[in-house]
């Protein structure tokens, strides 16, 4: 039956129908914003994963460090939100490069579990350091920054200024990554490295530099996401990466490991399912479990994700 109409509402339920439409707008806006945040976190991870094929858990640590540095700059220097954001991205990027040179560089040709463990070790270290009083400390700190962007309403979607900043940043990042990948020499060498690192190296692609730049940019995006989440939730904590550590992977895997557009689409699908199900059914089941149930179901039908190639 095509174009089936919803059954007529009995007249007695007008108030319910009204209140339902009142919540649809915020719910959709929430899906958009959450999808954007998932995209931002996952794009950086996809870049790193696509090239190094490392289960890069410490990406979540970089995310938390980004938030911490952003807050540090924001509270100590009178520069405002955007320069703090930039500083956080820079610090996160440098941290990413350091992770490569101290950790991954030595274990890339080792068995698959080895870089994963290096990553886990670094993540534990970063989180434990952030717990120290001279960094974030054990408590949650506030990060109430004004972005200077306007709030706006678009066809039932009402966005607060920080939500605007999230949506705009995601659009800018996606466009920049697309340009970089498809319209630059760097993008070309990345694609070559992602296909086959040894082959690319023997063809004269400057491996080290390309990997370092990739780590820098991917990690800077984690830092960007960290600051945006921190301001959005008005909360910075040493353990804010804990959920990101696995949630970002769900997005990357769902999108088909290494596919940047796949990750973006997967981010919105995941956000829609999670929020849709918990809005409709309430807290019957924890949100993470819902997300993973969706992931497993999709993987059963599409074992290499939504847009994945076979990896062998």
């Amino acid at each position: 039956m095509i174009g089936r109409r919803a059954p007529e509402e009995p007249s007695g339920h007008i108030t319910n129908a009204h209140s339902a439409s009142e919540t649809v707008g915020p719910t959709l806006a929430n899906i958009v914003v959450t999808g954007c945040l998932y995209t931002l976190i996952a794009i950086g991870l996809t870049m790193v994963y696509g090239m190094l094929r490392v289960l890069h858990i410490v990406h979540a640590g970089v995310f938390a460090v980004g938030a911490a540095v952003g807050l540090l700059i924001f509270t100590t220097a009178p520069v405002g939100f955007w320069p703090s954001l930039l500083g956080a991205m820079l610090a996160a990027g440098v941290m990413g490069v350091a992770i490569y040179y101290v950790g991954y560089r030595w274990v890339l040709d080792a068995p698959r579990g080895t870089p994963l463990l290096v990553s886990i070790g670094l993540f534990i270290t970063v989180q434990s350091l952030l717990e120290k009083e001279f960094l974030i400390g054990p408590h949650v700190e506030g990060f109430d920054a004004a972005t200077g962007l306007p709030a706006f309403t678009l066809g039932g979607f009402a966005f607060t200024p920080i939500q605007t900043a999230i949506v705009v940043s995601t659009a800018v990042v996606c466009a920049a990554v697309w340009l970089l990948l498809n319209r630059s020499r760097l993008g070309l060498s990345w694609r070559a490295l992602s296909e086959d690192m040894n082959m690319a190296r023997s063809l004269g692609v400057p491996t080290e530099r390309a990997v370092a730049i990739n780590m820098f940019l991917g990690s800077a995006m984690a830092g960007l996401a960290g600051v945006l989440v921190a301001v959005y939730e008005n909360a910075v904590s040493a353990h804010m990466g804990e959920v990101v550590a696995y949630k970002a992977f769900v997005v990357v895997v769902l999108g088909g490991l290494g596919s940047i557009w796949g990750a973006a689409v997967a981010a919105f699908i995941l956000a829609a399912f999670e929020i849709g199900i918990s809005t409709t059914f309430g807290g019957l089941f924890p949100r993470d479990a819902i997300g993973f149930a969706v992931l497993i179901l999709i993987l059963l039908f599409m074992p290499t994700g939504l847009f994945g190639k076979r990896l062998d």
């Binding site: 919540t23 700190e141 506030g142 809005t279 993470d288």
Partner: protein, 391 residues
């Protein structure tokens, strides 16, 4: 390749050597003091509560020693971190009871960590005072296990009373964290709601990891309730009121002692916390000199205003020391007897204290406070026996 292999060795070797250099020097132990064991999660995801609890307990020991100690001796806190791992809680419980031979223990930990440790304290016949782990079954471990925090069934009932009698409204929506503390509070609320003319319209659960409470709030928005009864710690509490404000929901919020932290206001956006009511045990405006000394010294030493967790741990140490004083003995059975003998007192604790039930749970009034201008303001005291004695 060989050179690279060599450099890898150098990097790893350097790292490992630096670490072994750090692995030196141990802590010194005070001798001939009355040892009180203490454990809480000071590293890991619960380190905020674990650290606050430790600071509260340390302050109690400091005060007691400044005031002349116990039985002519100093008190010493033997502190361990359980890192939110039950096996570590069990290990340190063995260490405290068998190795350090502590006179009594204090748990500044959550229920899933306290319960395994409590079993060990009970078997070793060493009294354990639980600060804020609210699982109903903790004190049921045995006669050596006590609790100074208000039991959840009491606090939940006090909340239901607050909704029905104090606020005088009917329809409540519950937002419950999906751990034992949340479940126990919600159960306490639901069990007594009918008696106070309150109807529970819905109960929405959330996970502590979940930053986004908007789906739940959106559901509640469409239900026309009079009040939201929510539980959680300060970070979740601030998140809740912020997102409530963002979604334009004006339904009043009643929270619980987990909200009772200065951090709640720090993390709330301007105006979002205003008017929120909570049930708690700490009365910041109290004329009791202990309360004022505790709040002032805590802020001075740790640079942060005390929260409910810190106050509970402070009380746990203070009550134990009081029992040791009254028993004039460090014998475990004498301490247990003295604990049961304590009736009304507020000379050493951060709130009025009406003694313990047979099961070892505290009997004390619940305070209702309201957020006004980024501070908690005294609103009411619930000390009617039918609520206080619900155990």
């Amino acid at each position: 390749m060989n050179r690279k292999f060599h450099r890898r060795t150098v990097i790893a070797g350097f790292g490992l050597a630096a670490m072994s250099a750090l692995v030196l020097a141990g802590p010194a132990q005070a001798e001939d003091a009355i040892k009180i064991g203490f454990f809480s999660p000071q590293t890991g995801f619960a380190s905020a509560d674990g650290t606050a609890a430790l600071h509260g307990a340390q302050l109690a020991v400091q005060f007691l020693n400044e005031d002349g100690g116990v039985m002519g001796k100093k008190l010493a806190l033997v502190n361990y971190d359980d890192s939110s791992k039950p096996d570590q809680a069990a290990n340190v419980a063995q260490k405290m009871t068998q190795g350090d031979k502590v006179v009594a223990g204090v748990s500044g930990s959550y229920s899933f960590l306290t319960r395994p440790a409590a079993a060990i304290f009970q078997r070793a016949r060493v009294p354990l005072m639980t600060a804020y782990a609210v699982h109903p079954q903790i004190t049921a471990t045995g006669k050596y296990v006590f609790r100074t925090g208000v039991p959840s069934q009491v606090e939940g009932a006090a909340a239901a009373w607050t909704v029905g009698k104090l606020m005088g409204v009917k329809k409540a929506a519950l937002i419950t964290m999906d751990n034992d503390a949340g479940a126990a509070l919600a159960d306490g609320f639901k069990k007594t709601a009918g008696d106070f003319g309150v109807e529970v319209v819905t109960e929405e659960k959330y996970s502590l990891k979940d930053k986004d409470l908007r789906p739940i709030l959106n559901r509640i928005k469409g239900m026309n309730v009079d009040v939201i009864y929510a539980n959680g710690f300060y970070a979740q509490a601030a998140r809740l009121v912020n997102q409530r404000q963002e979604l334009g929901i004006t339904t009043p919020v009643l929270g619980m002692e987990g909200f009772d932290s200065p951090k709640f206001f720090e993390l709330s956006k301007p105006g979002a916390a205003e008017g929120v009511m909570i049930t708690t045990a700490l009365d910041r405006g109290s004329a009791n000199p202990v309360v004022q000394r505790f709040l002032k010294e805590y802020k001075a030493q740790f640079g942060l205003s005390a929260d409910m967790v810190a106050a509970s741990s402070f009380d746990a140490v203070a009550v134990l020391a009081e029992a040791i004083k009254r028993a004039n003995s460090t014998d475990p059975d004498a301490i247990v007897m003295a604990l049961h003998g304590i009736k009304k007192m507020e000379a050493v604790t951060t709130g009025p204290f009406h003694g313990f039930t047979k099961g070892g749970d505290v009997i004390k009034p619940v305070v209702v406070q309201q957020a006004k201008g980024n501070d908690w303001v005294h609103h009411a005291v619930i000390d009617n026996p039918e609520i206080m004695n619900l155990h």
